[in-house]
Symmetry: C2
Subunit: 272 residues, 2 copies
Amino acid sequence: MTAAAFVLVDGKPATSISVLDRGLMYGDGVFRTIRLDAGQALWWPEQLAKLAADAARLGIACPADEVWQQDVAQAVAQWPTGVLKLVLTRGTGNRGYAPPQAAVPSRLVVAGPLPAWPAALWETGIEARLCALRLARQPRLAGIKHLNRLENVLARAEWDDPAIQEGLLLDEAGQVIGGVSSNVFIYRAGELLTPRLDRCGIAGAARARLMTRAAAYGLPVREVEFDLTALLAADEVLLTNSLIGVWRVAKLDRRVWPQPAIYPVVREFLHA
Amino acid sequence: MTAAAFVLVDGKPATSISVLDRGLMYGDGVFRTIRLDAGQALWWPEQLAKLAADAARLGIACPADEVWQQDVAQAVAQWPTGVLKLVLTRGTGNRGYAPPQAAVPSRLVVAGPLPAWPAALWETGIEARLCALRLARQPRLAGIKHLNRLENVLARAEWDDPAIQEGLLLDEAGQVIGGVSSNVFIYRAGELLTPRLDRCGIAGAARARLMTRAAAYGLPVREVEFDLTALLAADEVLLTNSLIGVWRVAKLDRRVWPQPAIYPVVREFLHA
């Protein structure tokens, strides 16, 4: 977000947060990134449910849906189309790692413009690269969209070629986990496969939605382990997140997928 | 720190930081915890050198020593004895993981009171416990005192018995790494051993100082791998950090070390 972004802190317009907030001191919090479209926060029920589930795994109490919805109403009045980021931290506390008994969580809402992606990317597919950074395995944090994101920062810092839209991440054992800012699916032998995210990675809302919709459509989808060789051998590679919906990978380093396979169908049912 | 803490943001008294700071959004920054004693920031040269080295590993430019020293002078005027925390983040940026080309780092200084530890702890030794959480291995972040500290938060949340001063952490492979807020040394067969920190853990300033001083004193000290069995079999277990200096472990779950071994000597040369 730029300095022009609209920001609420605990429901009130503000631009700053206490230096003593544990979100800053320890990354002790969770977040969501949501697409705003024609005044609506897309996939709201799934997004809020995932925020609450992630917060619960860290022992942070999540405010009620109505509380967030009042914030969102203020944000969409300023940015009917754009990006909405929700952040929930454990709040301020004394020095030291011990979570305060009586912590009052901090609730942040930031709205701003969508990235300027060319519309053609949804037609031609995108170019991706393999990141050198390998994700560490930490089951206690796996799947959670928490504020400890240095691995993503270091991976994203590996390239600055604007033609490359996404970087692919493997874990320390060489298993495919996802993109720096997206989840990954491969299409092979008539089914979709997506990495298990019980050791690392972030389980995004678009990934969950694609899995539900695929099953309803009759397209088999499974969470499994697979490595880079399996990905390169796939008929198609798809990337999902809440801003892009779904992209297909047209090029990954030297591997090229010139034609879409299941992509047009997935794109259709994901947004239906 | 409490709300009564003294805070500087970029050298000016302040209590808050931009919501868009990457320290909050991603934990994209580093920090130091320093003891203030009689108006002095203890071990300042080592502390600043480590802050700069950690920042460099994340590609964050560290302000010059003079800049920090001006901040510290303001802080010690308020808290001649206490705890000083320095935080350096990559600064504010647009949305997204990519580090901004022209980022201006944010410089935070927080001073407050020392924890109320009974002086007897330095005489009797302390009680520790083994944490269930296992640290993930991430060589790219290992050793750095960065702001992604959810593992420490979750580990510290495992106990609330005030009689237990520290929790011991193993990594995913079962190797000893350190305490939740300290580094660990074991004393065995006339030498000190401390875990290698090239896959996880934080390499603290007190650890570095103890290693240098031990070598100068003629006490052999080595960085190695060792597991819990080796630790339990040790003649003595020592914990270090910049606030406590050094403690010996008198009890770890059911294992008891009734008498000190090398501790009195280490305590003496660490502070000499």
